[in-house]
């Protein structure tokens, strides 16, 4: 959402970049040899981890976008709770009918939800909950100009 909050700036940006994977394009498989990838969200399930490792292997610069990816943030609030108790609360106690914990074809949750840097090398961080869209545009434009951004997100 924050990415799209740059409003009209996305038009001039779209002329300089090619979006090859993500929610905005219809790509089934993460392509090889990607220049920059902004990864948001923490690693919470086995699926997330597989995806992250594939992305790290196929991209040059990996930027963790948003507090969930940088520090764990809200999804990591589940970490003190055993996974079984969490799923019990959500799918059994929280359900009106069909009180079953799904296991078939949904990825298993990892014991903890953790930030990206605990699994792969992260080249840049863009914190914020949400990251200000101005910070995202600044970082992307700086990268296009070939310079490394100063800290663009100030807390408070």
């Amino acid at each position: 959402m924050s990415l799209l909050d740059m409003d009209a700036a996305i038009i001039s940006l779209a002329r300089k970049i090619d979006i090859v994977y993500g929610p905005l394009v219809d790509a089934q498989e993460f392509p090889e040899d990607v220049d920059v990838t902004l990864v948001e969200g923490g690693v919470s399930s086995q699926d997330d981890l597989n995806k992250l490792q594939k992305i790290r292997g196929r991209t040059h610069l990996l930027i963790s976008l948003g507090d969930c990816a940088v520090t764990g943030n809200v999804p990591a609030m589940r970490n003190s709770i055993p996974v079984s108790k969490l799923l019990q609360r959500v799918y059994v106690e929280g359900a009106q009918e069909n009180k079953v914990i799904p296991t078939d074809r949904v990825p298993p949750l990892l014991k903890h939800s953790r930030p990206l840097r605990e699994f792969v090398k992260v080249d840049m961080t863009l914190p914020g909950c949400p990251p200000p869209s101005k910070a995202i545009t600044t970082v992307i434009n700086d990268l296009l100009d070939g310079k490394k951004s100063e800290l663009v997100v100030k807390f408070g």
Partner: protein
């Protein structure tokens, strides 16, 4: 018996999976919708101070954080048995309408164009 999987879906930012089961004649026998992510808000908010809820629940969704924030705020009002003054109620409505404008503008341009 054939199985077709669509992952991710071209809605709700892709946070789901669809399985279509075809019978031997090639006709659809059954379809399933899988929610592939769970964060557990229902559980990890238990035991926390009630006034943290507007801040925490607004992180459930990036498109409708205001709705969650207002719902939590109303729950906090009920717990404290307070009434919000008219200006406050109108401010809440105003910011809720702003969320609609933001969400519709986003959906019309990026959502529908990009197949989100």
């Amino acid at each position: 018996m054939k199985r077709i999987t669509i992952e991710p879906v071209t809605r709700i930012e892709g946070h789901a999976k669809i399985t279509i089961h075809l019978d031997d004649a090639g006709k659809v026998a059954n379809t399933e919708f899988h929610v592939t992510q769970v964060r557990g808000f229902e559980k990890f908010t238990e035991g926390r101070p009630f006034y943290e809820m507007p801040g925490i629940t607004s992180r459930i969704c990036g498109i409708c954080p205001i709705s969650h924030q207002l719902a939590s705020s109303k729950a906090c009002d009920a717990i404290m048995a307070v009434r919000v003054p008219p200006a406050g109620r109108r401010l809440r409505e105003l910011v809720h309408c702003a969320q609609y404008v933001h969400s519709h503008a986003w959906t019309c341009t990026n959502g529908r164009v990009a197949g989100l």
